[in-house]
Symmetry: C2
Subunit: 228 residues, 2 copies
């Protein structure tokens, strides 16, 4: 912790006084009391951005799905499980405090199980299989971006297929000022990544690096855009 404080003291305080709200990690959508649907997001990228934003002087609230990661130093963390809980925690954080920036890094489940069971589903024969029905989850980023007085919204695109070609269109469709794309497959769980930023002026590649280095670069790019 002392080391974190010392390192932070050398960072430029480009987000001093800003309130930054970040989502990170996967969500877990219950099938029954022990089973559920999740994804391979480790939360590392979101946690790294939370740490970098705090180091840049921001007050950071991190809404996190289930991860095995340590609490980032200096950051207020709220733990949630489902997409609906993440939505509710984001809306609560926006009510409790005007947020300058919202960075949606979490890999939120598009669907939840509509017929989740209160009891553990038991295997009753050698051939039975469960019948799951799905319902769409709220699109948290779209709902925040559509709010009156919305914070500066940053989205993440996990898909890599033709990202350079479609990134700009994606950003406009999502109606957000900044979209961050992961280039290259299978970033989930890895320690490094390669990011490209899409904004109204075009795109800029941040290159390949470990996630903490990329997070610091992203925060610098974000601070420049907040000043313009």
């Amino acid at each position: 912790q002392l080391l974190t404080e010392i390192i932070a003291s050398f960072q430029s305080k480009s987000l001093a006084g800003k309130h930054v709200l970040i989502t990170a990690g996967p969500t877990f959508e219950p099938i029954d009391p022990v089973r559920g649907i999740t994804n391979l997001s480790s939360g590392k990228m979101g946690y790294a951005i939370a740490q970098a934003a705090w180091e840049a002087g921001a007050k950071v609230t991190l809404i996190s799905g289930p991860t095995a990661l340590a609490q980032p130093y200096g950051v207020q963390r709220v733990n949630v499980q489902t997409a609906q809980q993440m939505h509710d925690a984001v809306m609560s954080a926006l009510k409790a405090q005007v947020q300058d920036v919202f960075i949606a890094v979490a890999a939120v489940a598009d669907w939840r199980v509509a017929n989740a069971s209160d009891q553990k589903i038991k295997k009753t024969s050698d051939s039975d299989t469960p019948q799951l029905e799905f319902a769409q989850n709220p699109d948290i980023l779209a709902l925040v971006a559509a709010l009156p007085n919305a914070p500066y919204c940053v989205g993440f695109a996990a898909e890599s297929e033709n990202l350079l070609q479609y990134g700009a269109a994606k950003r406009i469709k999502k109606n957000i000022p900044l979209l961050v794309g992961n280039i290259g497959h299978h970033t989930f769980g890895k320690d490094d990544n390669e990011l490209v930023l899409f904004d109204a002026h075009g795109h800029a590649e941040l290159g390949r690096a470990d996630k903490q280095t990329l997070a610091t670069k992203l925060v610098s790019e974000l601070a420049i855009r907040l000043k313009n």
Copy 2:
């Protein structure tokens, strides 16, 4: 590691020379390249038993689903993701080395997704939802217990409902000499637990304790039964 060695030097070597094969953790059954079905097992109980068996002098092979736990000292770990992979790794371990004991602690998925997608399933409209079909996974414990020259098989029962009433019947149905039941709901992810043992002579309660203490007790009970 030195501390682990010192602690181990004070334990009785009740499993000296024995080969013990253990499964632990959840499995992850893919829906598409990033999503999947899992369960809330943390792997803590299985890892604690692996550590306790090593401390008791056994050669331990641990077949582990995805967990955030550190490698247990002295134990050979094989990482797998799906129930089918866990089955294959168990059968390989049994082929490579005669195992004296098989302890099935893993929370293996009963079902896998039969129509898993090679590509990430995309949300194409505001109302579309995926259609998942399921197939049953192999019952690893039942298959091992049915082998000629099967190792001494120990099963785990995660359900708590009426366990004292149905535990004995469960053990016979599974055709194994020892069944370990978790008493009390929601042991998944917790640091403590309460176990009850069912064997041909009846049942014995190990009481409530942290998982490492229970694992050491379980290993002692196991060693007694192997000698009889």
